[in-house]
Amino acid sequence: MIEIEGIGRRFNTRDGGSFEALKDVSFSVKDKEFFSIIGPSGCGKTTLLKMVAGLVKPTAGRIDIDGQTVIGPGEDRAMVFQQFVLLPWADILTNVGFGLELRGMSRKESREAAKPYLEQVGLTRFAEHYPHELSGGMQQRVGLARALAVGPDILLMDEPFGALDAQTRQLMQEDLMRLWEVEQTTVIFVTHSMDEAAYLSDRVLVMDTHPGRVREILDVPLPRPREESTRRSPVFNELTSHMWHELRGMMGDPTLPAPE
């Protein structure tokens, strides 16, 4: 259980003042829950996620995971990045094993241990290729496999499919669903896409901006396993158009995709 209690974050600005990115954010995420965060650009989603990861310190409030306060990165969490962030000098298998290597395994052990995860994302064939030889979608599968390989209880994903084209994105969502059902981890998933949030999540946090706050938390009453047809159900459409109205009210960000 992740409990976020009264989290705030200020950044110093260049002119000597300070800027409140997040203010008094409180919510909790249950074990094995798929929890999405959606909100206008700049509302502090990435900052919030990095605080859960232990990469950024809150300036107010605290984050408890199973009763223990987060003070830095930990073995129970793993992150997936929007820009994939693979090591360009290492082959795919080494990349997948990188998290394990950092946690003390030798290069050889970590490569061996990485194999099943590479298999899970369907890239065994590319074990000895370098990242620049792979498409964006494949690279993000590597990023996902790298996170899964360390066996995290909590998967933190920051717009993981944001850099992918629409078709690839949809395929990746389905793969992620399938993997999540097997792996049974808690997921906090930041996205700009309302479809994605509705399709994947158990609950969706809609954030308000300036400063970033909780606006509302929506339940997603869609049955699992979710299928292609889920996207056409009335509940799905109702949810996405609800989110759309909320977000459009906050700021006219033209990059937000409208629901179909």
């Binding site: 990861a53 090591l87 290492a90």
Partner: protein, 264 residues
């Protein structure tokens, strides 16, 4: 990308250019316009004799020994210092003025001082190699460190990496391409350094041989030695580039990595 035939055409042209140049040289030599230009056929004739002579081989060995002693530690320390300079701002601040001074001053000018301090012998030659190579490796390594993608550092940190691991697993590999470019430049400069220092001493090594042959007006032999030194420089650079290509499989054309600084 040039087509294969264009490449061949250029090769043929290069050979023609070389042949024409050598022919002109031969004519000038035959005309005996200056003792500085003996006929090129005489130079070619001298090559085998010179390159196999004991005097030449001794000189070559001397020069190689100096490089072998001075270059590796200079490279290793240069890389170490470069990593620190690139990663830690206070180190950068402290060393920048010194490094910049050494990179912009004409290093040859220091040779007379080195001779005072280290004497007219190998010590001075080694010192010359070190000042010619150390700083160039430092700046290029430091520039390489600065190319590290902060996102990768953050990724590693998110997986629990500490500063040591970040240094070893992220910063070092990120710095490699420029580091190797620095090593490539340093290799060329080490050859320059050893030759000039030996020339100033005038007795030992290939540089010493050049001075002695020049003093004796043994022009054909002199050209043979100069030719060897130039070819040796070319081959060394090729060798470093070949190693570079093997060591950096993810860089498409490592030899095209522009060094951050070449030095004067």
């Amino acid at each position: 990308m040039r087509s294969m035939s264009a490449k061949n055409r250029n090769r043929v042209l290069s050979i023609i250019g070389l042949a024409v140049g050598l022919a002109i040289w031969e004519v000038i030599g035959r005309l005996e316009l200056s003792p500085a230009f003996p006929p090129v056929t005489a130079v070619i004739g001298a090559i085998t004799e010179v390159w196999t002579s004991a005097r030449f081989l001794d000189a070559l060995r001397e020069s190689l020994i100096s490089i072998a002693i001075a270059l590796p530690p200079s490279l290793i320390f240069g890389i170490g210092v470069g990593l620190l300079v690139g990663r830690y701002r206070p180190v950068e601040w402290a060393l920048d003025p010194l490094i910049n001074t050494f990179l912009s001053l004409p290093l040859v000018a220091l040779i007379p001082v080195l001779f005072l301090i280290f004497g007219l012998g190998r010590g001075s030659i080694l010192a010359t190699i070190v000042i010619y190579t150390f700083f160039i490796v430092v700046v290029n390594t430091a520039a390489g460190v600065r190319t590290t993608d902060p996102q990768i550092v953050e990724m590693a940190t998110s997986f629990g990496a500490g500063e040591q691991q970040v240094m070893r697993r992220v910063v070092l590999p990120s710095a490699l391409p420029l580091m190797y470019a620095g090593v490539r430049i340093a290799t060329g400069r080490a050859i320059r350094a050893v030759i000039i220092a030996e020339q100033v001493i005038g007795l030992i090594g290939l540089g010493g041989l050049v001075q002695r042959l020049g003093g004796a007006f043994a022009v054909e032999q002199l050209y043979a030695v100069i030719l060897f030194i130039g070819l040796f420089g070319l081959v060394s650079m090729e060798a470093v580039t070949a190693v570079e290509r093997r060591a950096l499989p993810w860089v498409i054309a490592p030899e095209d990595t522009e060094p951050a600084f070449q030095g004067a």
